[in-house]
Symmetry: C2
Subunit: 192 residues, 2 copies
DNA sequence: CTATTAAACTAACAAATGTTTGTTATTGCC
DNA sequence: GGCAATAACAAACATTTGTTAGTTTAATAG
C-alpha cells in the first residue's frame, strides 16, 4: 500500500522530467514506461491516464503557489518585504520542484477542457494577489509608479528561467541566485 | 508563382498561430489544413513537411535576433544605450511577430535532431553576445556587479511574457510597455 | 502450504497521426 | 482553343498513439 504510492510517485516524477525535456505531446506512455522500468500497460495499475499525470503535476504546482500567496498575505511588514518573501518562495519551489514547475509553465495547455479552465482560474487568482501587492506598494510610495500588470508579468517571467537554467554546481549558489535576481528586480541593473 | 509563395506564407502564419495556441504536438496537419482552408494533403504542394514548418518558424526568429545583435554591437554609445536598444528590438519582434516568437520559445524542443542542435547553437550565440554587453557594462562601472549570467537570463525572461500577454487595446501602448519594462529592469521596482 | 491480492507482462484495440499516391480541377500562356 | 504547370482533392498507407483485456508472476495473509 505504501509501495503503491511509491511507484505512483516514481511515475509522476519521471513524467515531470520527461515532459520537461520533450514536452507532453512529445512524450509517449511507452517512453515514460521505459524510463520507469516497466511496460506501458503496467503503469495503468498506478495511474488512471496520461491526462491524470498532467493534471496532477499542474495542480500540485498551482496549489502550492496559491498556498504560499495566502501565507504571505497575512504576514506583517512592508509591501517590499512581502514581495521579497513571495518571490523567495516562488524561486524556491522552482529549485526544489523544477520539473513540475516546468510542466505547469509549458504544458498546461494540454489539459483537457474542464481542468484547463480550472488551472487558468488558479493562475489568475495567483496573479491577482501578486498584483495587489504591487499596487499597494505603489500606492504607499514604496514602488515606482509603473503599470502594475506590466510589473507583475515582468517579475513573474523574470524568474521563470531559473527552472531551465539552474543546476547546483554551476558556480552559483541558490542564495546568490536569489539575491542577484532580487537585486535586479527591485533595484535595477543600472547603478542609479 | 507569387501565389505559391503567398499560400505558403498563409500556411506558415496560420501554423504559428495554431502552434502558439495548442502547441506543436497538439496541432495536427488536419487542424492546420482546416484553418488554412484546404485539405491536409493539399498543403504538401506548398510545404515539405510538418517539421519544415517548425524549422522555418524557429530559425526565422533566431536569425532575426542574431542580426539585431550584430547591428547593436557595432553601434556607438554606452553599454547602457546598447543594452536598451537591443532590448527594444527584442521586444519589438515580439510585438510584430508574436506567434513565431512564441513557437521559437516553446516548441523548439520538437525540432529534429540536426536542426535542434543548430537552433541551440544560435540561441547560445545570442546569449553570449548579450552577456558580453552586460559584462562590459559591469566592468565599466555602469551596471551593478551582479552575476552576468543571472542578469542575462533575468532580463531575457522578463521580456518573454510580452508575446503571451500583449494585445493592442488592452490599455497599454507598445511605448508604455517598453518604457515600463525598461524602467523596472534598469532601475528596479523599488524607489531606492 | 494455500488462498488472495497486487502488479507485472503480452497482445491487441481503435483512433489519430504525418505523409504518399493517383487523379481531377484550375490557372496562365501561346 | 489547347497545353503545360499548379494546386486542389479523396483515398489509402504505415506508424504511433493511449488504453483495455486477459494472463502470469510475485508478494502477502491465514
Amino acid at each position: 500500500m505504501s509501495k503503491k504510492l511509491n511507484k505512483r510517485q516514481i511515475i509522476l516524477d519521471e513524467a515531470a522530467k520527461l515532459f520537461k525535456l520533450k514536452g507532453f505531446g512529445g512524450t509517449s506512455m511507452r517512453d515514460l514506461a521505459g524510463e520507469v522500468g516497466m511496460e506501458a500497460a503496467s503503469m495503468y495499475n498506478h495511474i488512471k491516464s496520461k491526462d491524470e499525470i498532467l493534471e496532477h503535476l499542474c495542480f500540485h504546482v498551482s496549489d502550492t503557489y496559491i498556498a504560499q500567496l495566502a501565507d504571505v498575505e497575512q504576514m506583517s511588514g512592508s509591501n517590499g518585504d512581502k514581495l521579497k518573501q513571495l518571490l523567495r518562495l516562488h524561486i524556491n519551489l522552482m529549485l526544489e520542484d523544477g520539473a513540475a514547475v516546468s510542466v505547469a509553465n509549458n504544458d498546461w495547455k494540454y489539459l483537457t477542457s474542464g481542468k484547463l479552465e480550472q488551472f487558468k482560474d488558479a493562475r489568475k487568482q495567483y496573479e491577482k494577489g501578486f498584483a495587489a501587492l504591487i499596487e499597494s506598494g505603489i500606492a504607499a510610495g514604496e514602488f515606482r509608479p509603473v503599470n502594475a500588470s506590466v510589473a507583475l508579468f515582468t517579475i513573474l517571467s523574470a524568474v521563470r528561467w531559473v527552472e531551465l537554467w539552474y543546476r547546483p554546481g554551476r558556480g552559483v549558489t541558490a542564495q546568490e541566485l536569489e539575491d542577484d535576481i532580487m537585486t535586479i528586480l527591485l533595484n535595477g541593473l543600472a547603478k542609479n
